[in-house]
Structure formats: C-alpha cells, structure tokens
C-alpha cells in the first residue's frame, strides 16, 4: 500500500511532537542522589548523571555527609548539574538509608522534583526503594535505557529478557545500570549551592565497621579491562597470575560466584546477576564455566575471551575468542606475550 506523501509527513511530525513531549515535560525536574566516599564521587554516579540529563533540562544533585563541602564543590563543577543541595550532619556519614531516605523525601517535596535518579549500586538500591515507598510510589530498578519521562527499559530474568515499562506514578524513582550510560563530563560546570531541607536525623541504626578492599587498580564496575577468575583457579593464591595479566593490560580482577563462595577472593569481586554488572572493553574469563547468572554480569563486554580446559564449558558460547587450555600455563604465557 502506498502512503501518501501528506500522510507520511503527518505521521513524522506527530512522531516528533510525541518525542518532544515524552522527553521534555515542561514541569519535569530531576534530583540526582550523589554517592561518595573519601571526598570522591562514585564513578557510577557520573553514569547516573548522564541518565538524569535525559529526563529533564534541569538536574539538581543531593550531596549529604558529615563533612560534605568538598564533594559539594566537585559536584558543582559537573556541567550537567544546575544546583547542588547539601545536607551536613553526622547521621549521613555512612550512607544509612534510615537517614538518607527521609532526607531524599524532604528534598523531593521541597523541590517539587518529578524524577529521582541514583545508580543501581548497593547504596542506590538501599536508599531509593525506601524513599519511594515513603512517598507511596513505585521504583523502577536497573534501567538500561530511557525512552521517555515515563518509559524505561530494564533487564529481567538475569538479563535473559528485556522489559519495556511505563510508570504511572506522578513521581518517578529510578536506579540506573551504570554500564548502560556513559559517564558525564566532570569539569566546567558552575552549579549553585543551597542547603537541604531538614529531615529526621535521629536514627536507631548504627554503623559499626566496614572492611573495604583497597586497590590502586581501576574500579571493577568501570574498568576497561577485567580478568575474571572462577572455580578453576583452585585457590586465592593462584589469583596472582590473574592480577599479573590484569596489570599488564591496565585492568583489574573480578571473580565468579564459585570463586567467592570458595573463599578465594572477597565478595566485592563477584561478577554476576546478583554481584556486579560489568561491560568492559575486554573481559577475559579464566577457569569460569559460564553459568547463566555469571553471564548476566558480563555479557555486555565488548570483547570476551575465555580460557578453560573444558571444551564444553558454556562460556565458550559467548566468547569471541575461546582457548581450550590449562589456565596455569596459558595465563602466564599470555601475560608474557602481550
């Protein structure tokens, strides 16, 4: 059937209007929850800022802490941020959701925000749903694409299906997958700063201690090269050959659930459906069989290499380059020859 030229033009201008309507609701404004530690903004917050910018022309950023001034300054320098809202209190020092959620609720009410964005990190996941429920609205988790101010795309079933959803709530709380959005620019901005509204800071939960990995290597969630070790590594000591390879490539090391469960490496190295989702330029899976739940965490890597002595390992099905070999020989050889 031929469409007339006129009907084609009508259809196209309607589509453009719809697009503009979807993306720029005039009264839309977005609040970004800034995650930070040691006066440094978490890399995933920069990816979340890119996502926030798609929702509305104005993005404000909420920075809270015991001494937030340094982070507030860094945040004000982000070109994508128009306003920094700063809350200073001891209660915010360790990211406790019982303190952060009421603060977020107060900031949303005071600022009339229509969209609240955070990274789908342990911190974002901890705070956003609590705040959303306090405002009696749903939350959309782990968004990988923003198609409109109310339309989002997100993975389900460990990324084996992709859902297109539409939120009917007046206020939209979303967490975004950091690997799905490029990091926002970090310098050149000059946002204004204002004090956050007051919120309940007397919380009964107490921070006791933390055990965090210290590393000079790139952060697992944003590294360009990742070498992952699995059950086949047989011990934590053996991970040294992976660290050597990672260092040669300027990358970092991750692990499968099996390796973490076996005590080879700490939990923050886990890549997978319920661990970290990564999408590096290069992922080298060593001694990893490739269970569905692990694939969920790395199948968006640009190039995947697999080294495993089992030719039937499922990982080979997603690998661009598969080497069936003894990893204890192949990995040091690879490090040497690169």
């Amino acid at each position: 059937m031929f469409a007339t030229r006129r009907s084609l033009l009508c259809a196209r201008s309607q589509a453009v209007r719809g697009f503009r309507q979807a993306f720029s609701r005039r009264d839309a404004s977005t609040l970004l929850l800034v995650e930070h530690k040691n006066a440094t903004i978490a890399p995933s917050t920069l990816n979340a800022l890119t996502a926030a910018q798609k929702l509305s022309p104005n993005v404000s950023a909420l920075v809270a802490g015991a001494s937030p001034d340094e982070v507030a300054k860094i945040t004000a320098a982000l070109p994508g941020v128009d306003k920094v809202i700063v809350a200073k209190h001891e209660a915010y020092e360790h990211g406790l959701p019982e303190a952060y959620a009421p603060l977020l609720v107060a900031a949303v009410k005071a600022g009339g925000f229509s969209h609240i964005v955070a990274a789908h990190s342990a911190f974002g996941k901890n705070v956003l749903p609590r705040a959303a429920a306090m405002l009696d609205v749903a939350q959309v988790a782990d968004v990988i694409e923003i198609q409109g101010e109310d339309s989002f795309v997100r993975p389900i079933y460990a990324g084996n299906a992709i859902a297109h959803v539409k939120s009917k709530d007046a206020i939209k709380f979303i967490t975004v997958r950091s690997t799905a959005f490029p990091p926002a620019a970090t310098s050149g901005g000059s946002a204004s700063t204002e004090d956050a509204p007051s919120a309940e800071t007397n919380v009964s939960t107490q921070f006791v201690s933390e055990e965090l990995s210290k590393s000079d290597r790139p952060e697992l969630g944003s590294a360009k090269v990742v070498v992952g070790g699995g059950r086949g590594m047989k011990s934590g000591e053996n991970f040294k050959i992976l660290y050597d390879l990672a260092d040669k490539l300027g990358g970092t090391v991750g692990a499968s659930r099996a390796a973490v469960d076996s005590g080879f490496v700490p939990n923050d190295l886990q890549i997978g459906q319920t661990g970290k989702i990564i999408a590096p330029q290069l992922y080298i899976a060593v001694g990893i069989s490739g269970a569905i739940q692990h694939l969920a965490g790395m199948k968006d890597s640009k190039t995947i290499v697999a080294i495993n002595k089992d030719a039937e390992a499922p990982i080979f099905q997603v690998a661009d380059y598969g080497l069936v070999a003894d990893l204890f020989k192949a990995v040091p050889e690879l490090t040497e020859k690169l």
Partner: protein
C-alpha cells in the same frame, strides 16, 4: 527472649530454567517453579534461629496465585511453623510496593520482631520489597545480609555485602533484613518433613482482607529478547590469541 520471625517468600521460575520470550512476554507456562533462592536462604536463617532458640516461631508468607501454596508447603517442610497465603488471581502481577503493603498490613496485626526475606526475586530482579517494607513500617533495614546475630532478643548486628566489601551495622528490633547469597546454605526438605508439613496450618487471605489494592503502577508494555551474542570462535594457542586480539585492536 524469643522472636517471632516473618519470612515472605516468592514462587518464581526455577533459577536453572532457561526462559523463553514469545509474543511480547515471558512464557512461564509449564516451566518448573521453585522458591526464590534468596527467600530460601532467608527461611533457612529463620529456621536456624529457631534451632538456636533465638526464635520461637517462623511464619512463611507468600503473595501469589493458587500454586504459591507449593512454596509455602516447602517452607513448612524446611521448618516454618505456619504459612500464610495471600491469594491473587492467576496472572495477576503484584509489584514490590504492593507486596510490601500486604506484608506491612500482616505485620501490624501479627507483630513479628523480625522480617527476613530475600534481597531480590530472580524474575523481576528489582531488589526493593524489603527496603520498601522497612520504609512503610519505619523500621530499620539491613539489606544484602551475609551474617546476622541476634543479641538479647532485642538487637541485631548484621554484616552486609556492599560494593566495596563488607559493612557491619547494628539496629534494634523490630527490623527488616534482606538475605544475600552467602548468609547460609539452605537445607533440602526431607521426605518425613514434607509429610509432617501437611499437618501444619496454612491460612488463606485476600488482599482485601489486608486492605490493600494490588493494582500495579508500572505497566509492562512489552518484553523482548536481548540482542544475541554470537560467540564460539576458538583459537588453538596463546600465540594465535595474541595475534587475533592485536589484529582486532583490542590490545
């Protein structure tokens, strides 16, 4: 001091089953279903608390269609004392906020000191219900728990798995905890226990009984398959691997 522990559980497609996307939705008909693995871990933790005499009663709770009774029976076989089924129509989607409201309504009547549930359901992967429940109740929350200690029946100390490693917090009861992978390894229900579970009470409620409207506010417009990753190419040696990676500009 002995606690009453409420464990919300969800019936989901079994974690090992490969799901299929057809006609714009996930086709779950005739697929094996099981208790959400993280909820199994939560339930196991509650049963262990009972065995250690830190808890005196474990109540399993599930929102879902008639078939959700399967996972409630499994929970009873694993050691829960009673089960509550909030029944909804087959195919009725109940989202985290509405589930949280149902649990809240029940908790306000039954007054458990501890609610422990899985950190996320492996079908929708939202990771929200526990946090929302805590927000609605105004209770402390301890998510992604890999260790829980109950102190004097009035306080919990929880070690959580976070992005940088581990964090330990303490909070007074009542509280909401969400269970992570390494909290414990759940037991298998033994046949004698499965038989005994048939005699344990399973109460049915409706959302109306709890005064909750379960209408979802997030509409699923369509579901698609993810882009297919084509792999499978093999190299014969490290030399060939290096050559190919260099040729492709990867290294």
């Amino acid at each position: 001091m002995s606690l009453r522990v409420l464990v919300p559980i969800k019936r989901v497609v079994d974690y090992a089953v490969k799901i299929r996307v057809a006609n714009g939705r996930v086709d779950t008909a005739n697929l094996k279903h099981s208790m959400n693995p993280f909820d199994e871990i939560a339930l196991e933790e509650a049963v262990r608390m009972k065995e250690k005499k830190a808890a005196k009663e474990v109540i399993a709770f599930s929102v879902g269609p008639t078939k959700s009774q399967d996972v409630l029976r499994t929970a009873l076989a694993m050691g829960a004392d009673t089960a509550v089924h909030v029944e909804v129509a087959e195919g009725q989607e109940v989202q985290p906020l509405q589930v949280a409201k149902l649990i809240k309504a029940f908790a306000e009547k039954e007054k458990p000191e501890l609610v422990i549930l899985g950190k996320q359901a492996i079908d929708d992967d939202s990771s929200q219900t526990g946090q929302m429940l805590a927000g609605l109740l105004g209770w402390p929350q301890a998510t992604f728990a890999s260790k829980i200690e109950v102190k004097d029946g009035s306080k919990i100390t929880v070690t959580r798995e976070v992005d940088g490693g581990l964090e330990t917090i303490s909070a007074p009861l009542p509280a909401v905890v969400t269970a992570d992978l390494r909290l414990n390894e759940p037991r298998f229900a033994t046949l004698p226990n499965i038989m005994k579970a048939r005699k344990k009470p399973l109460t049915k409620l409706s959302p109306k009984d709890l005064g909750v409207d379960v209408t979802p506010t997030i509409e699923t417009v369509k579901v698609e398959e993810p882009p297919k990753r084509v792999g499978g190419a093999k190299v014969e040696s490290v030399d060939e691997l290096v050559a190919k990676l260099k040729a492709a500009g990867v290294v």
